[in-house]
């Protein structure tokens, strides 16, 4: 066990991600995405990736950057509707897509990380999602079998980490990140602040460091907003 998992360079941290690897990437929309790791991967040009992530960024940000470089061979997602490059590559057959109901996707990643090879859910019964899947009836209701997902790597974004990789997330940027962290053989966490051991209250830790191999401090997070909605202050 490495007591200090902190690495200095994003390009070094992602250097052993190979062509055709499977990556599990945290984030919902552009909220809580590992933006620095994604940019490092773009710069390195790693290709033929299978990426498991709820969404696929937008044209010029997040996972959309990897699409633009034609680095992704297959996406496993629940919603991919915000991305023009995605549409073009999907329609031309360059990009393979597996659509998974959002709750099933979350549970498949959680299960993968928790050593559960498969589970049954009602989500998708009677829809195209059920095609080719084993069905069973429990207590009079039909369920379909879904498989756990594991990744060669997981890329996650947290708010704070200590040097052992214990992670704390902030507000709704938590989303898929703790699940992704569990399901990667090697999990790379980028954060906005790294604190010394003992500075995080054990009660506040969302993801225990056992799931995390590498910790990196990111700076100047852009945190782009997809839909800025505000209200006027009255008075």
């Amino acid at each position: 066990m490495a007591v200090n998992k902190v690495m200095q360079s994003f390009s070094e941290a992602i250097a052993d991600i190979g062509d055709a690897n499977t990556l599990i990437v945290g984030g919902f929309g552009l909220c809580g995405i590992p933006e620095k790791s994604i940019m490092a991967l773009r710069d390195r040009g790693t290709k033929d990736l299978t990426v498991v992530s709820n969404n696929c960024g937008v044209d010029n940000w997040g996972l959309g950057l990897l699409l633009a470089g034609k680095q992704i061979k297959k996406m496993v997602s629940s919603y991919v509707g915000e991305n023009k490059i995605f549409e073009t590559q999907y329609l031309s057959g360059e990009l393979e897509v597996e659509l998974v109901p959002q709750g099933t996707l979350a549970e498949r990643i959680r299960a993968g990380g928790a050593g559960i090879p498969a589970f049954f859910t009602q989500s998708g019964v009677g829809t195209p999602i059920a095609e080719g899947k084993e069905q069973r009836v429990f207590d009079g209701r039909t369920y379909i079998m879904e498989r756990g997902i594991k990744g060669d790597f997981a890329l996650v974004k947290a708010w704070k980490a200590d040097t052992m990789g214990n992670l704390v997330f902030r507000k709704t940027s938590r989303n898929f990140n703790p699940l992704a962290a569990m399901a990667g053989k090697i999990t790379i966490a980028e954060v906005e602040e790294i604190v010394q051991l003992g500075e995080l209250d054990p009660d506040e830790i969302h993801t225990p460091g056992i799931y995390v191999k590498r910790v990196l401090l990111g700076s100047n997070y852009e945190k782009r907003i997809e839909r800025k909605t505000v209200r006027a202050v009255i008075g």
């Binding site: 997602s77 991919v80 999907y90 989500s123 009677g126 507000k171 989303n175 703790p178 945190k223």
Partner: protein
């Protein structure tokens, strides 16, 4: 009043004090502004928030705090944040009292289609397929007919399904229907609509609740 607000205002009557509720993207989200102020309800957002508050002011704007429609929001007093597996545990596990969702088509046995139009760009189902099975009561809101004037309430859905036999109640600009063991039942005629109008614009077979009109 515009057609969508008419539907939304009727849908809001389904909300009871003390409920945990998930509102779908689009028309259902508008219901949030119409909830009576003295009600304590908690709105759930699939990305990991129970207790959605109003849109933020410019000062409160926080990119780490969004709803399932990816809009910036705030959190109310008593709100909780959690990961996506936990979020769908509370959905699938039957802990949410009510979901109000949009629809493209509803069939007479309560099937719902609301995620894909074949031939058009694939976007994905998001959390809709999980919500329709887990939530205690699923209410669909949609306009009664499409832009061509054709009924969106079908004998059988022509679009790929989101879920089979999952809709409990359907609210349109013309009518309210319940889905029961005995099939689809017209329970209310919306203001300005007539029974003849509803019959003419509904492809699905339905019975009329005793005592109505």
């Amino acid at each position: 009043m515009d057609v969508r607000m008419k539907i939304v205002k009727r849908a809001v009557k389904e909300i009871e004090d003390g409920m945990y509720i998930n509102l779908g993207i689009g028309m259902p989200t508008l219901a949030a502004n119409e909830i009576p102020e003295d009600f304590h309800v908690m709105l759930q957002s699939e990305n990991g928030l129970l207790g959605i508050g109003p849109y933020p002011t410019e000062e409160q704007l926080d990119p780490d705090l969004i709803n399932a429609g990816k809009e910036t929001v705030t959190a109310v007093k008593g709100a909780a944040f959690f990961d996506s597996a936990e979020s769908f545990a509370m959905i699938r596990g039957g802990h949410i009292d009510l979901a109000i969702l949009g629809g493209m088509e509803v069939s007479e046995n309560g099937d719902l289609a609301n995620w894909i139009i074949p031939g058009k760009m694939v976007k994905g189902m998001g959390g809709a397929m999980d919500l329709v099975h887990g939530v205690k009561k699923v209410i669909v809101v949609m306009e009664h007919v499409n832009k061509m004037g054709e009924s969106k309430i079908k004998k059988q859905c022509s679009l790929p399904l989101t879920g089979q036999r999952v809709v409990k109640r359907l609210i349109t600009d013309l009518a309210v229907f319940d889905f029961t063991e005995q099939g689809m039942v017209l329970t209310e005629v919306m203001e300005g609509a007539t029974l003849e109008d509803i019959q003419a614009k509904t492809e699905a077979a339905f019975t009329i609740k005793e005592g109505l009109q």
